[in-house]
Symmetry: C2
Subunit: 418 residues, 2 copies
């Protein structure tokens, strides 16, 4: 048996998040697989043992070449998974944020150059090198805050060339950055100015031209659509996602963010991997998500950043048996943060999720929201050795101690990266 | 003229917060004294020039010994002032946080060992060395997030010996830590178990014994009281604060946090330096604060941490001409954060304060809330050279980009300290 390349030992609380395949539901979201006095061993990129330290070390005694990390009694968890980000963009939009605080309407902000269309203009004008540099800085910050796997969407191009440019930047990030990246094609993020008078025409462009080209180039794993009043209708959203499914892209939806628009129901109908936002999801939509096993990705940072106090009904979802995950929604318009930690805090404070439920939602359930539950999100034999050593000795302190970075060290694929 | 010891140059936005003595009111809270292309020069601990770079450098050309910091186009602001903290405590209370998320009542949490009385038990049992070590770590985190001056309260002792022990730790921190500390005696934070059946007796102990002893030892600059239904009545609060005023301690109040209890009105009556919390302040209380010039210290992180969505009426206060300041309320029970940055974000997102108003509230107005407006909180000639160089080039990005630390460097009394 090979000696381990890495041992993390002396974890005061080792949260393995172990269990059967698939997301955790209901009371299962409170089961963290907590081992007091735990250790993890890895050979190469993968975990060969995780559990009580004595068992791990006797099965995999370190050799002289083993990297040994002493957690010194601290909490050790899986690396966090951020399953909903728009992390490749050209410019921040703090001016628009300030206008929104002053009570300016969406229309006034659009007139002042704000909104998604602002990001479309700047992304189309940006070079790939600039997008790559900014994207890398964003992923660096994510990693420093404990995220080891992230989904990244396109959607500020809204034309074939700029969408491909974005997804090529995402691919380059996936190749070169420590964070594992799951790429999503979001050509149906908004209607670009040049198609506002022919919305069905833009849907056809996405369905008939962009989707096949993106899939043929292997640039995306998922497709997504902003299903919402005033943006893509349920029928338009269905057409987009079915086109994606035909070419092998898993379905994701921006669903029921601002109104109960039937997005959750559509996600269930299509067997989507995830339905995201869901602030206004109907009771029937929530039951449909539970029945169909679609992961609900909640984004409380977006609600906060938009200055709203009505958050997604997380408790109702958990009680109904929906698999709930959490994400930053990292984007320059409505949630400018790279940190899953503040999302965990908001989940406990505003969504009333217990610290254990929030941790489950940010690890194993988030991994399932990007169809990577067999690879990441839990510390089990055969999984990638992605983990975080925290500055705290009680996992409940992670959402409790808010607004600061509590990460001491990050391990990605068996290597210390932060 | 002495050559400068420190030059900070090439500030894309230098926010001086300059102006007449005293806090900024109303529309004045949006006046940041913004200089594009600014610089600051210091001799020893104090600023000798702050303004357009050309003027500063021609008046104070650097010598070979001058430390020159290139802000590289970034935002430079005064060091942040945190005017309300309980930063000396023995233990965090994340278990209680988790119980609160689960919906446990205050009584249930108290039975499970939570509440202020929990912190009293642990502080009384703690050694001064342990309190000092933990307090130093807390102040280190504050400094790393841009705070250069902080108020620190006692109030987990609730007996002479333990209150003095706390304030001696605060004094040691004030002497040895880079952060300037304003100490506050909060013997009237809660009724200790041994006095719950004789509340007026405890008030007499605070007034007749503890207050004179603390003042005689020079251990505090302010006194404070938790004026609230079920805690200290308005009459008891008045007795405590008047006793403080008699021995030279400025008055502060925990006022109207949970109910409109008359705290704001009492603050105005006594000419308090600040009234803090004010979530439930009455309209008459707000007008009284405006008339009397009492600074309102708002603590949105506490509202968030307690899982509430009704925040203090900041807009009404600003419109009525109240000087509004912001603080972390850093404490283990209801706001476990050292970062004024997340407070700035919450101020814009939840209190609807513009980025400029929030910055004013966290600098010059916060300095006035601890009676240090003539020393810190703005970048003017003669003030202490306390400043932050940020990672951003637009000050509106500070509240916008939330949950991460945007500080690049901190200067305290003319020295680079973080």
């Amino acid at each position: 048996m090979a000696a381990p390349d890495l041992i993390v030992q002396n974890a005061g609380e080792l949260l393995t998040l172990g269990g059967p395949p698939g997301p955790r539901l209901g009371a299962g979201m409170r089961e963290l697989g907590l081992v007091t006095g735990g250790a993890v061993a890895a050979v190469g990129e993968r975990i060969v043992a995780a559990g009580p330290e004595g068992e791990v070390l006797s099965a995999f005694p370190p050799s002289a070449d083993t990297v040994v990390l002493d957690a010194a009694g601290a909490v050790v968890t899986p690396g966090l998974v951020d399953p909903h980000t728009h992390a490749v963009f050209a410019r921040t939009r703090e001016g628009e944020f300030a206008l929104r605080v002053e009570g300016k309407s969406y229309e006034e902000i659009a007139e002042a150059g704000g909104g998604i269309r602002s990001s479309v203009r700047s992304l189309r004008a940006a070079s790939s090198d600039d997008l790559l540099a900014r994207g890398r800085a964003t992923l660096d910050a994510m990693l420093a805050h404990g995220t080891t796997t992230a989904e990244v969407k396109s959607g500020y191009g809204l034309e074939l060339e700029a969408e491909v440019k974005t997804l090529e930047v995402v691919r380059e990030l996936a190749k070169t950055h420590a964070i594992d990246v799951a790429p999503t094609f979001l050509g149906a993020h908004e209607f670009p100015d040049e198609w506002r008078d022919d919305r069905d025409g833009y849907v056809s462009l996405v369905v008939d031209t962009m989707m096949p080209a993106v899939a043929a180039a292997g640039l995306a794993r998922f497709c997504d659509v902003f299903c919402e009043e005033g943006v893509f209708t349920v029928d338009q959203s269905r057409a987009v996602l079915e086109a994606g499914l035909r070419v092998g892209l898993g379905a994701k939806l921006h669903a029921d963010e601002l109104h109960a628009s039937g997005g959750a129901e559509l996600a269930a109908e299509l067997g989507a991997v995830s339905a995201d936002h869901l602030v206004c999801a109907s009771d029937e939509g929530i039951r449909a998500l539970a029945r169909s096993g679609v992961v609900a990705v909640l984004l409380p940072g977006t609600t906060l950043s938009l200055g709203k106090t009505a958050f997604a009904p997380a408790r109702k979802m958990i009680d109904e048996g929906v698999a709930v995950a959490l994400a930053t929604d990292c984007n320059p318009g409505s949630s400018m943060t790279e940190s899953m930690q503040i999302i965990l805090s908001l989940a406990s404070m505003m969504l009333r999720m217990t610290p254990a439920e929030a941790m489950t939602a940010a690890t194993v359930n988030a991994a399932c929201a990007v169809a990577l539950g067999d690879e990441v999100g839990s510390l089990g034999v055969g999984k990638l050795c992605d983990l975080v050593i925290w500055e705290v000795d009680d996992h409940r302190a992670i959402p409790y101690h808010y607004g600061v970075n509590l990460v001491r060290a990050v391990v990605k694929r068996g290597r210390v990266v932060s």
